[in-house]
Structure formats: C-alpha cells, structure tokens
C-alpha cells in the first residue's frame, strides 16, 4: 500500500467532521472520494496534507513512513504528496512562472526542475504563453491548469485534487482530466475529490463514498456506478 489511513478523526472545534475513516491507496491508482456538500471530502485531503490536526486514534502511513511525523511542508517536499486545494488558492500576486518556481522551494535538482517546468508547459501550453502574467489575472480555467502545474512541481508521488472540475466549461474539463490521466500514466498516483460523481467515477478505478463524515461505501468504479443507492443519491437517479 502506498497510503494507508486508519481511523481518521477530525474535529473543527466542537464539531466532528470525520468519524473514523479508513482508506487505502495503491501506488499508481486513480482513486476518488465522492459525497454531498459538507460530507468531509476536503477535510480528508487536508488531513493527509497535515494542514489540520487529527484525532489521537488516527494512523496514517505513506510508503512505510508515519505521515503524522512530518510537518506540512515536509509532507510535500520530502514525501512528494502534492495538493491542489479547493478554490485553487494560487498566489495571485506572483506570476505564473513564480508560482511554479515557488513550488520547487525545497528542491535542489535544478536540471530536473527545468525539465519539469517544460513538462508543465507541454501539458498546458496556455501557461507558457502567460508565464509572466500575474496568476490572479488568469481565467478560471487557466488558474486550474496552474494549480495542477504547481502541484506537479511540488511533489509527484501522489496528487490530491480537490474539485478540479469546478467552474470549468465541459470542453476544458475534458482536457484537464486528459492531462491528469497523462500525469498518472507517468507515475503519479491520484486521489480525486469531486462533487460531480459521474465524472469522477468514470475517471477513477476505485471510489469511496462519504456521508456526513462516515464512510458509506467503497469499491470499484463500475460497481459504484451500477449501485442503486449511489445512482439515486449521486448520479441523479
């Protein structure tokens, strides 16, 4: 197992957002977490990135190492877990190029960095055209490309994506998911969180269904797509 999560509890103050989630991801897989608004999808990703504290009974291991021993920035720079956060959260006052370079802050492999930047530009040629433009002035679609590019630069073992389809026109959505497929083929494991359950399940090999902070269901994407409960609740009947 690449990532093993056992008993994931997260509290926001007095409110419990996750009530003991178990999750496993194999290297090279594409996994999705689906669920309604407020189910705890983003919270799960934040917990893996160590952006929020987890309960004392929670265990998380990544490639044999105790994830909880790593500070948030080391989760990215040492373990290679990158995160495209909800709402993209680019550094709008920095240029496209600066956003990509900042993501390599802890990296020392200068030559590889150059190659990786070239790779990002070959996946998203639009970004190269706009490399000196401030990220805050990019269109929504371009921002999503940059958010993925930034994550690509920061860590490549596994990429956590929080609703990358948000606000994208259907055509652009297809090209973003194609890009993600390609990144996955090159060896990056993908954990995708989506509101759009049909899209997510068509894209991923396996899925987890979250309901009110509990794991309701999990399994192969085909099985979930065919599941009457899932159909009723998430696929519009």
């Amino acid at each position: 197992m690449m990532l093993t999560i056992k008993n994931l509890y997260v509290d926001y103050g007095k409110i419990r957002a996750l009530h003991g989630i178990d999750l496993e991801i194999e290297e090279g897989e594409i996994i999705t977490i689906i669920g309604a608004n407020g189910a705890g999808k983003s919270t799960t990703l934040r917990a893996i990135s160590r952006m929020i504290p987890v309960g004392p009974e929670t265990r998380m291991t990544f490639m044999g190492q105790d994830l909880l021993k790593f500070a948030p920035d080391k989760v990215v720079s040492r373990l290679g877990i990158s995160h495209v956060p909800e709402g993209r959260r680019l550094f709008g006052n920095l240029t496209v190029m600066e956003n990509l370079k900042l993501a390599c802050f802890a990296r020392k492999d200068t030559q590889q960095i150059q190659k990786d930047i070239k790779r990002v530009f070959s996946i998203f040629p639009r970004l190269e055209e706009r490399s000196t433009q401030k990220a805050g002035t990019l269109s929504g679609g371009e921002q999503q490309m940059l958010a993925i590019g930034r994550a690509f630069m920061s860590g490549r073992k596994i990429m956590l994506l929080d609703e990358p389809s948000m606000g994208l026109a259907p055509l652009l959505m297809v090209s973003v998911f194609d890009a993600l497929k390609e990144i996955n083929r090159e060896g990056t494991t993908i954990l995708l969180v989506e509101q759009n359950a049909r899209l997510a399940l068509q894209f991923a090999q396996r899925g987890y269904v979250l309901e009110n902070g509990h794991l309701a269901l999990s399994g192969k994407s085909e099985d979930l797509l065919a599941d009457p409960e899932v159909k009723k609740a998430y696929l519009g009947g």
Binding site: R46, S49, M51, A71, P72, D73, K74, V76, S77, S82, H83, P85, E86, G87, R89, F91, G92, N93, L94, E98, K101, L102, A103, C104, F105, A106, R107, R150, A151, S154, G155
Partner: protein, 321 residues
C-alpha cells in the same frame, strides 16, 4: 523662506526620515506575512543600537583610535553595522520563536500584548545590564561639514541617507529576486497555502523577523552616530512613530513603509519652520514644542482621506484552508 533654508530642512528631513523608514520596514514586513504588528520592534531598534555600541567599542579597542589606528574609521563603521545587524537578527529570531510562534493561532490581541511585554522585558533588561544611565555612542568617523551653496551638509548625514537607501535597495532586490523573497510575497498573499507547496512557513516567518531586526539595528547605529546618546527608552517614541509610518505607508507595503518614513520625517522637520513662518505672519508666539501635535494631526488628516494608507490594499482577506 529662502531656497537654501528649504534645502537645509530637506537634508535634515532625509536623515530623520531614514530612521523612520528603516524601522517601519520591520513592522511592515512582519505584518505583511503574519498579519500582526510586532510591537517589540521599537525596542529591538534600541537593542540594536546598544549592540552597535558594544561592537564599536570592542572593534575600537582592537584596532586602536586616533593616529595609531590600524584601520580607518569608516572600515570600523562598516564592520560595526554588519556585525550588529547579524547579531540583532538573532534577537529577532528569539522574539519570533519565543513570543510569536506559540501564539500563531491565538487571537490577534494576545500577539499584540506579547510585543508590548517583550518590549518591557528588553527595556528593563537593558536597565539591569547597563545600570540605566545614558551612554555615549562613539564617534567612528571624523565629522566633515560641506557648504553647498549655503546648505550645510555633514559627511555623516550623507552617509546615513546613503546607507539607508542602500539597505532599502538591497531589501527590494531580495524580496523581488530571491526565492526567499518570493516565498515572503506568497506568504503575504495567502500564508495558509504556503506549506502546501512545500515551503517551510516557520522558516520564512523567522527570516522575516531576522531581516526586520537587522534593519532596525542599522537604524540604531545610524541614529547613535547622529545623536550619540543612547538610553533604554530610545526605542519607544521612535518606534511608535515608525509604526505610524508603517500604517501611513499602507499595512504590509514595503515600498509604502519607506516612502511614508521619509514623508513623516519631512512633515516633522518642516513643521518647525512652518510654525516660525506662522509666528512671523500673524505675530504669534507659538513654540516649536507644538511640532509633534501639528505633525501628527497632519498624519491623522491623511489617514482620514486615505484610510488604507498610501499604498495599502483596501481589503485583504486571509482565507483558511
């Protein structure tokens, strides 16, 4: 009011503004990345001046003074500034680590009073260590006065303004060109996401405190050269006024802090001749002790019309992830 008179005051204002600008930078940089004001900063300026005094005294004892000196005074000065900036940076690091980092998630008011308390600790430590009396700052370079068309300029004033501008330029280059500066700018925009792209947030925060403190130390030494008497509370009034400059420049704006620092120096210095002119015109007898009252009323007026300062963003939201 003659042209030379105006120029003379302008020269003085430039020197006075240099102190404000250098100190204001420390407030502004810390604010821009952590959204808190380090109210101990004025006292770090004081500590920097005293460290400068110690370093200068030590260096003078090593190289000798007068005709038998092994090194010219300006070399001693350069080393005094560099070594003191380096040492005072550590004071900033300690203040951040002990005073602010544990309170990162605490209400802003707690962090604010932390600064005030650290300030008191620094002042009283100084009194305990140095005995509380005023001490004289050594004159490191021979003072030379130039008469440029009736305007008197000392080599000291020129040096102070040039060193200050040089440091500001260096900071500007650091912030705009280096990856560390890039991280600071990113943190100013959205510090929650900074660790998410693999940048060590605590390191950047500590570095920012260190740089701000080093600049305050430079200001302290330059101040000691211009007004060679140090006392434990020298950072209080100057520190608060530099804080005013930081706000006037626009919270978190580095360029704004520099310009507002000079502007504040200018307003303060120019108020005195303005009072004299008013006295002469209206046959009044207003004292120059009204200086700060008038100068800061002007600042208040500016803020009423530009509540976000000269270069401030009208609204800056720091979101949580």
């Amino acid at each position: 009011m003659s042209f030379t008179f105006l120029m003379q005051n302008l020269v003085n204002a430039l020197q006075w503004g240099s102190f404000y600008a250098l100190i204001a930078l420390g407030y502004s940089m810390v604010y821009s990345i952590l959204m808190l004001f380090n109210f101990a900063h004025g006292d770090i300026f004081m500590v920097g001046a005293y460290i400068g005094l110690g370093v200068a005294t030590l260096l003078l004892a090593l190289v000798g003074t007068g005709a038998g000196a092994m090194l010219p005074g300006w070399v001693v000065l350069v080393f005094t500034i560099l070594i003191s900036m380096f040492l005072t940076a550590f004071v900033g690091l300690i203040v951040e680590r002990v005073g602010y980092r544990p309170l990162r998630e605490a209400p802003r008011a707690s962090a604010a009073i932390t600064g005030l308390m650290i300030g008191i600790i620094l002042e009283t430590s100084n009194i305990i260590l140095m005995g509380g009396q005023r001490v004289k700052f050594p004159q490191l370079i021979e003072s030379v006065t130039y008469n440029i068309g009736g305007v008197f300029v000392t080599n000291m004033k020129i040096m102070i303004v040039l060193v200050s501008l040089g440091l500001m330029l260096a900071l500007h280059l650091f912030v705009t060109r280096s990856k560390w500066g890039m991280a600071m700018r990113a943190m100013a925009f959205d510090y929650v996401v900074v660790p998410l792209v693999g940048v060590p947030l605590n390191t950047i925060a500590a570095m920012t405190f260190a740089i701000g403190s080093a600049l305050a130390a430079a200001a302290g030494i330059l101040f000691g050269l211009a007004y060679p008497v140090l006392d434990p509370f020298m950072g209080v009034s100057l520190g608060w006024k530099a804080f005013v400059a930081a706000i006037l420049g626009g919270r978190g704006s580095i360029m704004g802090a520099c310009l507002a620092g000079f502007m504040l120096g200018f307003i303060e210095i120019m108020t005195v001749p303005a009072i004299q002119i008013v006295n002469r015109l209206f046959n009044l007898n207003l004292g120059s002790n009204l200086r700060d009252l008038i100068a800061y009323s002007i600042v208040l007026l500016i803020l009423i019309f530009r509540p976000h300062g000269l270069f401030g963003e009208p609204y800056s939201a720091k979101l949580r992830l």
